[in-house]
């Protein structure tokens, strides 16, 4: 696949319909995670599915729209700030998927590490600017408190906090996405295939 087709995006009805479905999936993931009392967020499953099906641009739109819509309508305004993180997660997962890194399980793990790294790089400065470095996750904040008590620099403690929270979260998210994508029927995935060409018989 050439470099140009990585970013090729179909803005047809199917792609537009995909966005709210992915936002809904993000919400359901978060809901299940809290219903089962899992110490993870799992709120980017939909963004990653959107990115894998529709490519980096749709992935980015899914991510940003997700946080903006929830932030502006459900009162969870803290998520607004992380629209930037979601945007870049969707974008980079989309690039990885288009580059063929969602085809096999080991490659999907590599994609998940990329997503984790993106989340850490974008979220850590946001955490420091807005919350003084914490993430709000119990385990991560315990690490944060411990490394602050050991008088490590703030950015390093905040980085540890993020790593503890985001890397396992993204690994599990992308394993789930991999399992789900394998289960989808071809007639659905074919809708979003940007590399397809219309054959003419005349």
């Amino acid at each position: 696949m050439t470099g140009k087709s990585i970013f090729r995006t179909k803005f047809d009805v199917a792609s537009i319909v995909l966005i709210p479905a992915c936002i809904g999936i993000n919400y359901i993931g978060k809901l299940f995670a809290s219903a089962l009392k899992l110490p993870l967020w799992l709120d980017s499953i939909g963004t990653c599915i959107g990115a894998c099906l529709g490519g980096p641009i749709i992935g980015g739109i899914c991510g940003a729209a997700n946080n903006l819509i929830y932030g502006l309508t459900t009162g969870d305004s803290i998520t607004l700030i992380y629209a930037l993180t979601s945007l870049f997660i969707g974008f980079f997962v989309g690039i990885m998927a288009r580059a063929g890194f969602m085809k096999t399980f080991p490659k999907a793990i590599i994609t998940s590490l990329v997503a984790g790294a993106v989340a850490i790089i974008i979220s850590t400065p946001l955490n420091i600017i807005f919350w003084g470095g914490q993430t709000g996750n119990v385990w991560g904040d315990a690490v944060f408190a411990a490394s602050q008590a050991a008088s490590l620099p703030l950015w390093l403690s905040s980085l540890f906090d993020e790593i503890i929270v985001d890397v396992p979260d993204k690994i599990i998210t992308l394993i789930l996405v991999f399992v789900i994508l394998k289960a989808l029927p071809d007639k659905l995935t074919a809708l979003y295939d940007a590399a397809d060409e219309v054959e003419r018989l005349d």
């Binding site: 199917a14 537009i16 709210p20 995670a33 309508t73 459900t74 709000g136 659905l188």
Partner: protein
Amino acid sequence: MRSISLYRDNGTWLCRVHPFTKLAYILAVILVPLLLGSLWAYAAAIVLDICILISGKSLRRARALIIFSFTIIVTIFLIRGLFDADNITPAFSLGPVVFYQEGLMKALRTGAVIINMLLSFSILVLTSKPEDIADELERHGFSPRLSYVIASVFSIIPQMMGTMDTITDAQRSRGMETEGKLSQRMKAFIPLITPVVTTSLINTRERAIALEVRGFGSKGKRSYLSPWKKHRGDRAMTIVLLLSIAAAAAWRLASWLS
């Protein structure tokens, strides 16, 4: 059907204010204290938020939103007060643990930012209908696709939550454990979420065809089902709010230059 939107029409003036005016208010009430940089500005902003919420009869519901993020504020106070790198002056001690002044002041600032943000957003969230926001965006030149995405999220989520309940019941009835140890709960996650996600993705195919048939992709001018009832003073209020941001920015700039 359960709705995820917190909007209720309680008939007060606040519900009739244009969503863009509320957005301008949020922007002003967050940016002005940030630019002025004083804790008193945050206090004033929070008091203003609360007054607006009281006159809009929505304070009780806003309180529920604040309590939700109370734990993070408490942990910020604990961690900053105990372990912050700049801690020198002890403020008070609880038994063997000593809280420091510098950390507590930082925590106070962060806490004020969070509470101010939550309160000002709750003014918009509690009193504006998401569909109205989507309609108004479209009327002011945003793409109809964007307003479809916003409006659609609110109809898709209750539908997906219905599917989620059905699948949880089905899996439980065939003996799956959804409670217990962490490993058990982790294991339950996959058989619960995969069917919901797959079903909703497969539904998108039919939805896309249905929308296309009804002219979703058409380029023509659209008409609206319900016109927005204008509220007096929206425009004036928006101008005042934006001017206050400009004034605060000018003040900041002047204090940097001098």
